[in-house]
């Protein structure tokens, strides 16, 4: 008899459930660890971490030096630790160079400082076009760069993740770290956009 039983999940959901129960049964993962991971990514880890590092770099030359020297260390200093032992490298935009981050293989992403990747970052068109025609990709995000600015594309790997340090927008002299942080979007730290201009800051 059907009709009275629980709603049958899709085949995909059943496969995910089976994977989890097998891994738990074999002692390869702990259920508490899974809950903790989801909670962390929901509440604690997100682009606000990266934005904090960028805003600090904008206001503190020493910190900027440390961030560009060894971003894993500088992030750890602020309490943002890599969970999988991967290295983080900060790449700074200048008037001559604009940096763009991609993972052509499988969507590696700097989780620690940016949280979970957006859908488009994981898409085939982004993964291939960021390399083959980065300027066109930037244009689709509404980002126009002067013709003399060189675009440097960084292909992430399981060992190396990248954080773009966008240029500090004009008209933000004297701003606090907290206020500056609001200008640093996730997309700016992937490199598909610039940091927000002060007038674009939501009131």
């Amino acid at each position: 008899m059907s009709g009275d039983h629980s709603h049958l999940p899709s085949e995909t959901e059943l496969r995910a459930k089976a994977l989890e129960s097998l891994l738990v049964e074999k002692g390869l993962v702990k259920p508490e660890a899974l809950d903790a991971i989801i909670e962390t990514y929901q509440d604690k880890v997100g682009p606000q971490n990266g934005a904090h590092l960028v805003a600090l770099a904008w206001t503190d030359a020493d910190f900027r030096g440390r961030l560009l020297e060894d971003a894993s260390e500088a992030a750890a200093e602020m309490g943002y630790f890599g969970r999988q032992g991967e290295h983080l490298k900060a790449v700074e935009n200048t008037t001559e160079v604009h940096n763009l981050v991609v993972c052509t293989l499988c969507s590696c992403y700097p989780w620690t400082v940016l949280g979970l990747p957006p859908v488009w970052y994981k898409s085939a068109p982004y993964r291939s076009r960021a390399v083959s025609e980065p300027r066109a990709v930037l244009a689709e995000f509404g980002t126009e760069l002067p013709g003399n600015v060189r675009i440097r594309v960084w292909d992430s790997t399981s060992e190396m993740r990248y954080l773009v340090v966008p240029m500090r927008p004009d008209g933000t002299e004297g701003w606090s770290v907290e206020r500056l942080q609001g200008l640093v979007t996730r997309n700016a730290m992937i490199g598909v956009e610039q940091a927000l201009a002060p007038e674009r800051l939501p009131p």
Binding site: S6, A18, A33, P117
Partner: protein
């Protein structure tokens, strides 16, 4: 190689929630947990996942990012098999058990797998 034919859908239209269903978060958490405990070395994972994404595209998946966690799910199954941590039959049986558990559980009650006969669990 160059894949600009799919550009009809702009990247910004591909925005959306990071997880579209609970199972996606579940798969993500499994991968994370296995990496954190060192059981799944990151390089091994990115190779396995990269290969699965390549195969999915060969099968005609436009791969617009919305199937990413499905690729992770399949890659994780394949890794289990390759690492000899589970057998194909074992995985299939577990999926069947879950289906059966849903069909057997009256609506509104928590769905649980039938507990295997191991009453003295010594966890920790």
């Amino acid at each position: 190689m160059v894949n600009s034919s799919v550009s009809g859908s702009g990247f910004r239209e591909l925005e959306g929630p990071v997880f579209r269903a609970p199972w996606e978060a579940q798969v993500f958490a499994l991968v994370c947990a296995l990496q954190e405990t060192g059981k799944l070395p990151p390089a091994e994972w990115s190779a396995t996942l990269g290969e699965e994404i390549r195969l999915a595209k060969e099968r005609g998946d436009p791969d617009l990012g919305d199937t990413y966690y499905f690729h992770c799910l399949v890659a994780l199954e394949k890794w289990l098999l390759k690492a000899n941590l589970a057998g194909r039959d074992e995985i299939s049986a577990c999926i069947a058990d879950w289906r059966e558990a849903y069909l057997r559980t009256p609506h509104g009650q928590p769905v649980e797998l039938r507990q295997p006969a191991k009453s003295q669990g010594n966890s920790g």
